[in-house]
Symmetry: C2
Subunit: 210 residues, 2 copies
């Protein structure tokens, strides 16, 4: 536990990349990987890779490299992937539905337990394994069920109000797809996924030939 | 044009955030905004905001602030949002379908012209305004149609091969949703959206109480 706490933010941010790539290697039947190969994939030097992995006590063997399965499990443990998380989705539009139907997240331990929407026409419909509930049922649901992560796929103008309601019912983490930056309440972690921003960086590059 | 080229990467990366927030203000009927208000939303200082905006010749008036509409249009121009982009989606699964049905991108000028998939069962089906084509038709389609951006929503193990094919037909930009980091060909811009990474940062925070 001490070891984990000493890891810098920069290294932490690279862990999901390691985890995904190691999963890809595992799927393709690769048992061992060298720091050189990891370096090439991660756009780092082999020495940086070794430093990163030494941080949490994973040492490759000279000439043999790292055991892909063991390394992935260790990184998964640090990332908190050795348990499951109860998720709810707020917003049952196209994006909310796509995320609800995306089985990969559930395979990783992120289990969608409920979906809420404000639109009465969609309430009661089944998406994936959940029936869409009205957003007014949020507090009642929370009183009887655990919620680790709330996924926001609603319009920007409503997201701050919903974020405040989520804080009131002690939801600890928000995965925010609205293009609005939330003012997070104390003790609530927010991860923003600004899809439009990413698209605008592409149009910038295309327009300015960079 | 000279002015645009002198803007640093750090400032460029903030432009989509300005653009989105100004859009939100415009939608809610706000005509003027001060550097203080922008600073609060962007988690920067008012002085940094003024520096950012001065870069491309936008000067707020003391006591009046910035004209929201004019500022947003100017930032949109720099981001290349004063034209439209022809997009194709490769992968007609849940995510590909959600993106194809998401009208906001089209409103911004990113128009989905075609969707491709490898699965014969989904080919011929209509998603949004497009009929899903087989991936083998990609090269023939490209010979008669312009493609500015290709959106990849396919499995990681296939994405490098598809990226190489896209480079061969001179697609200049890839919006990559696969969890695999592409080795981009020269002259091809890649924007990665690693949804799983973002989710893993949440599980890390929840597990380590950060």
């Amino acid at each position: 536990m001490q070891k984990t706490k000493a890891i810098s933010q920069q290294v932490i941010k690279r862990l999901p990349r390691y985890y995904s790539y190691l999963g890809y290697l595992l799927e393709s039947g690769t048992l061992r990987v060298s720091s050189m190969e990891l370096a090439e994939q991660m756009s780092l030097t082999a020495s940086q890779i070794r430093q990163d992995l030494n941080h949490f006590g994973c040492f490759g063997q000279q000439g043999y490299g790292y055991n892909v399965k063991v390394l992935r499990e260790e990184i998964g443990r640090i990332l908190g992937l050795d348990r499951t998380y109860d998720m709810i989705i707020i917003g049952a539009g196209n994006l909310g539905q796509a995320l609800a139907n995306y089985t990969k997240f559930e395979d990783m331990g992120f289990v969608i337990k409920a979906i809420f929407d404000i639109n009465l026409e969609i309430c009661g419909k089944r998406i994936g394994s959940c029936e869409v509930k009205h957003i007014d049922e949020l507090e009642a649901y929370a009183s009887g069920n655990s919620i680790d992560i709330a996924v926001l796929t609603i319009r920007s103008k409503n997201c701050q109000e919903v974020a405040n309601r989520l804080a009131d019912i002690h939801v600890k983490a928000i995965w925010n797809f609205a293009s609005f930056d939330l003012r997070a309440s104390k003790g609530v972690v927010v991860e923003d996924v600004h899809l439009s921003d990413s698209l605008m960086m592409l149009s910038y590059s295309l327009s300015n030939n960079v």
